[in-house]
Symmetry: C2
């Protein structure tokens, strides 16, 4: 991932070979087994792909039809017994663009195959259950694309920062999350966890924008300022979560999110790469085409 | 609504007045208290709006931003306590385009504010409950747009045609549905019921298309041919349902569906008219803007 220091250089491809399209998964993936220092990552970076807004918007729009077709194949495949599905987990500080990503990226898909859930503060009933209970109930079905706007990670983020549960309990949750996500993977769920990396300065600008436009006042909450005061504690909580919960089965991807057009392109592209890796196929029919044709033509 | 005989002629507007945009709701609304004969309605008609495919596609695309903005206002308004929401009910024969309408029309909205439910044959648990139980559980929340691909009307359609319950029980359901929808209206739900009117010939063509394209075999079911054999019984069941369940609180709209581009335009336009009638407003903030600004700038 593009750290401020430039990150690792890629090896040059042999001159005769066509330049391969770099895998964004490799570029954005949080390294396993390393200490994570979020201040080392530039939130305005464009570590791969388009480098300007116009090109970025065009590239994202161009991904739309490919995404929609792969989604249709995934859904079609499920009607033939394929249990695979995809779950996009969106996390990030307030105003990092979780909602905007759903609008612009998930808006490229057929809405009937998307199962979207925004997790708010848990209800009394949800608090009476283990923290993964409400998550389980919102999982995508085979063939669907699930989208979590916030997720079970809130239970190691705000729960840690605000001391909502004893620290020891938070400590146990990382392992519980990893085991849960491993089970999901075994059950055919491709979990794509995206951390929308926003800078402190950009958050201020976005909050001010909401304040300055009466049509955006409904998005503003006085509590947002209080949360912002806890920025360093949240950053640390994210660093720990990214560090402990990047696994082979469910790695974290860090998407620079200060530029909305780049965020949208990067998430679209990540989804495309995962769907292409799944390579779902239209299932064959279980009927005699010629006979059905003849019967139909007789009607 | 445009019947085959040409329907009622509109009165000419006085020459000096600009031609008012006709309300599609008035044009497509099933008349109350009349016998309905579906054979009198042309499924290829374009009773108002664009009359050609290119113009129709462009007109639908042009509605997108207006629909999305009204949806955002509706959602925003709910955060201020407004309980209003919209529920689109899609019914129609097999291949009439319920799924296509969700893809192309609901695809114009922000997916995070849409609550989509496709009703299949009821599960054992659903059958153990009153027929409206599963419907209640799928209703949109305040500020949302709900979409039913099939609905409680199946319980007076296939249930009637296939004698799934005693005829007397079917007979009671029309009144139950009307009372249920009246309660919804009282609770702030704008119910928009759309019957996608397909011709017998077009259904054959669409089923053949699915047979002739291996990538569409997953959409084909041998049982579809058997259902098609019951076309007259289904038509009659629809006529009864449209007749008995068109009420002031929740009227039925008949959308000619043989032309997909017209169907998409008409449903989009119907949704626009209903959302414009709701005229949702961004709610005012409950905070001191100047003070919040100052606090933010200090961070």
């Amino acid at each position: 991932m593009a750290k401020r220091d430039g990150g690792k250089r890629k090896r040059k491809a042999p001159e005769s070979a066509p330049a391969p399209e770099p895998s964004l998964r490799d570029v954005l993936r949080i390294p396993e087994g390393e200490r994570i220092d979020l201040t080392a990552y530039d939130a305005r970076a464009t570590p791969a792909g388009p480098t300007g807004k116009a090109a970025g918007l065009a590239a994202t729009a161009a991904l739309g039809p490919r995404l929609a077709e792969l989604q249709e194949r995934l859904y079609a495949s499920s009607t033939g017994g394929d249990r695979r599905r995809l779950l996009l987990v969106l996390q990030g500080m307030d105003t990092s663009g979780k909602g905007g990503t759903v609008k612009h990226v998930i808006g490229l898909f057929n809405p009937s195959g998307c199962r979207i859930r925004a997790f708010k503060a848990p209800t009394q009933e949800e608090r009476n259950h283990p923290f993964l209970w409400r998550i389980m109930r919102a999982l995508p079905q085979p063939g669907e694309i699930g989208i979590f706007d916030r997720s079970h990670y809130e239970d190691v983020l705000i729960a840690r920062v605000r001391d909502l549960v004893p620290r020891r309990q938070v400590g146990r949750r990382y392992g519980q999350i990893n085991r849960f996500e491993k089970s999901l993977a075994e059950d055919g769920v491709t979990v794509v966890k995206v951390f929308l990396h926003l800078s402190y300065e950009e958050q201020r600008a976005r909050l001010l924008e909401r304040l300055d436009d009466p049509d955006k006042h409904w998005k503003f909450n006085e509590g947002d300022i209080g949360e912002r005061a806890l920025w360093p504690a949240y950053r640390q909580a994210y660093e720990i979560a990214l560090e402990r919960c990047t696994t082979d089965e469910a790695p974290w991807y860090l998407v620079p999110a200060d530029r909305k057009w780049y965020r949208n392109w990067a998430v679209s592209r990540l989804l495309l790469e995962h769907l292409e890796a799944l390579d779902p196929k239209y299932p064959p029919g279980d009927f005699d085409v010629a006979e059905c044709r003849a019967r139909l033509l007789a009607t």
